[in-house]
């Protein structure tokens, strides 16, 4: 199964608050995928009566409805994403983004969402690599980017958000929940480059990518505490997104495309 197919399947999945209506850009038709037990919310026109009679339980025909997709993406380009163990996390983020936009075919649209603007203008779908790699001159603003996505994207669009989410404060929970009901949202959470092994020992200096510095003694106690805190933060972020109906995945520095596929349960 491809990423696009996974997105199309997700559109047929009964969603908690009704997202998943088709876009106006209709594709090439329908493809039968499978039979499964009826779930409240399924379209009654999709009930397979013959199969129901055979099994004695209501059976729903799962149809892959091929429609034009809107693939939108928000990528955290803040300095905190420009550090990493072997390469910047942002590089992995862009790989994921290329893979995301690379899934588009036919009438699909690709949109980069930034604070106050969407790029490129509607209907452009070529040059997705350039779109994935284009830099934003202004600083990254997560809150404004989320609000821009909410205002500019069509209902049912697939939205991918990639970042380390340090800017995600409690005040944004409502925006996340709102986006989760309108769009098919996926959050890729950048894994801390040093999540498994902090390469510091002794008296060290640390400089923050977004300012600030620290001079301190790091020993085994600090390394263990750091590892535990990083794992805890990752788990908390995953739960936070899942609570508001977002698909989640971990962005690994070494494999951006694989990280995106992992979020959809696909194998690259």
């Amino acid at each position: 199964m491809t990423l696009r197919e996974a997105l199309l399947r997700a559109r047929r999945r009964p969603r908690r608050l009704g997202a998943g209506s088709p876009t106006i850009y209709r594709g090439d038709g329908y493809e039968f995928i499978e039979l499964r037990e009826y779930v409240p919310g399924d379209d009654v026109r999709r009930i397979d009566w013959a199969a129901t009679a055979r099994s004695g339980e209501l059976q729903t025909r799962v149809i892959l409805e091929d429609v034009a997709l809107t693939l939108a993406a928000i990528v955290d380009e803040s300095p905190s994403m420009r550090v990493g163990r072997r390469r910047p996390l942002l590089d992995a983020g862009r790989e994921a983004l290329e893979s995301w936009f690379g899934a588009a075919i036919g009438e699909d649209r690709c949109i980069r969402v930034r604070a106050g603007e969407v790029t490129p203008p509607p209907l452009q779908r070529k040059g997705f690599r350039a779109l994935a790699r284009c830099e934003n001159g202004a600083g990254f603003d997560l809150a404004r980017s989320l609000r821009t996505a909410r205002a500019a994207l069509p209902r049912g669009a697939a939205l991918l958000a990639v970042g380390d989410w340090y800017e995600l404060d409690d005040s944004l929970d409502r925006d996340l929940a709102d986006l989760g009901t309108r769009f098919d949202c996926t959050a890729l959470i950048a894994r801390d480059p040093w999540y498994d092994r902090l390469p510091l020992a002794g008296i060290v200096r640390m400089r923050g990518a977004e300012g600030g510095e620290l001079r301190a003694y790091i020993g085994a106690r600090e390394r263990a505490a750091f590892r535990a805190s990083v794992a805890r933060r990752e788990t908390q972020l995953l739960r936070r997104f899942e609570r508001v109906n977002w698909r989640t995945g971990i962005l690994r520095e070494e494999d951006g495309a694989g990280s995106l596929a992992g979020a959809f349960g696909l194998h690259v």
């Binding site: 905190s80 994403m81 550090v83 996390l89 380390d164 340090y166 801390d192 480059p193 040093w194 902090l198 390469p199 510091l200 020992a201 002794g202 008296i203 060290v204 200096r205 640390m206 400089r207 923050g208 990518a209 977004e210 300012g211 600030g212 510095e213 620290l214 001079r215 301190a216 003694y217 790091i218 020993g219 600090e222 390394r223 505490a225 750091f226 805190s229 990083v230 933060r233």
Partner: protein, 306 residues
Amino acid sequence: MSIDHPLRLVLGVIAIGLFAVLYGALQRRRTSHDLAYSNVAFFAEAARPRRWIPRALQALWIAALAAVVLGVSGAHLTMPVPVRDGNVFICIDTSGSMASTDVFPTRAQAAKTAARAFIRESPAGTKIGIISFAGAAGVVEPLSADRQSVIAALDEVPLPDGATAIGDALKLAAQQLPNTGHRVVILITDGVNNAGADPMEMAQWLGAHHVPVYTVGIGTPNGGLIPGTNEEATIDEEALRGYADASGGAYARAENAAQLRDALARLGHVTAFARKPVDASFGFAFAGALAMLVAFLAGFGLGRYP
């Protein structure tokens, strides 16, 4: 503290200041050893690194440098040093009020017992003399290093009777003490000066000649009647404190025999030690060098040379 070479001290302080500035500049310099991290605030909360260790190491470096500078500058410290040739006069009040029994068995007996213990425990070589005073003062035992003879002389202290001439006792002690060396006067009394020379003047004179007077007031707060009279024995504590302060000594109050013994025992150090300027330049230099070595090794041991 006194300094032999103030110019070296000034140059040393300037050097420490330059070191601190250079140290700070090196700390601010961006180097390849620095780890760039996404969010320092998160790291500080997550790892809870011990920030005080590098600060302590930095402080150790500065303290080590300061000690070396003091050593090179020839620092002298005024500190207690043991003395073996001290001169102590114990002035014991033998006025009539010392017969009072509010301190068991009598104030006079308690004073003698405490003085005896004090003499026994004083360092060998310390010369001790005894003066008794009532309406007038007299030497019971001149300064002597022979403790046994001084202890025996306590038995010759007259029985309590008469007025209280504290000034005369201090004057006599001043006359008997040598002109140099470690000299101390211990005054044990229960009364108010009512005869002879002005004690405050004598205390000031002794203080000016570096002879501290340690005064010990003996008697209960309620006092007691002087036997055979209707007069009450009271202590002029303010005056006794004043004599001690004027001469650079200290005042202690004893309401019973045990407190009197303790008060005299505490005075043991004033005969065993004298505050003298001591050349501490070697000590400072050595301590500074040692601290530098510790800071250097700690810097390596903790992972980084600061």
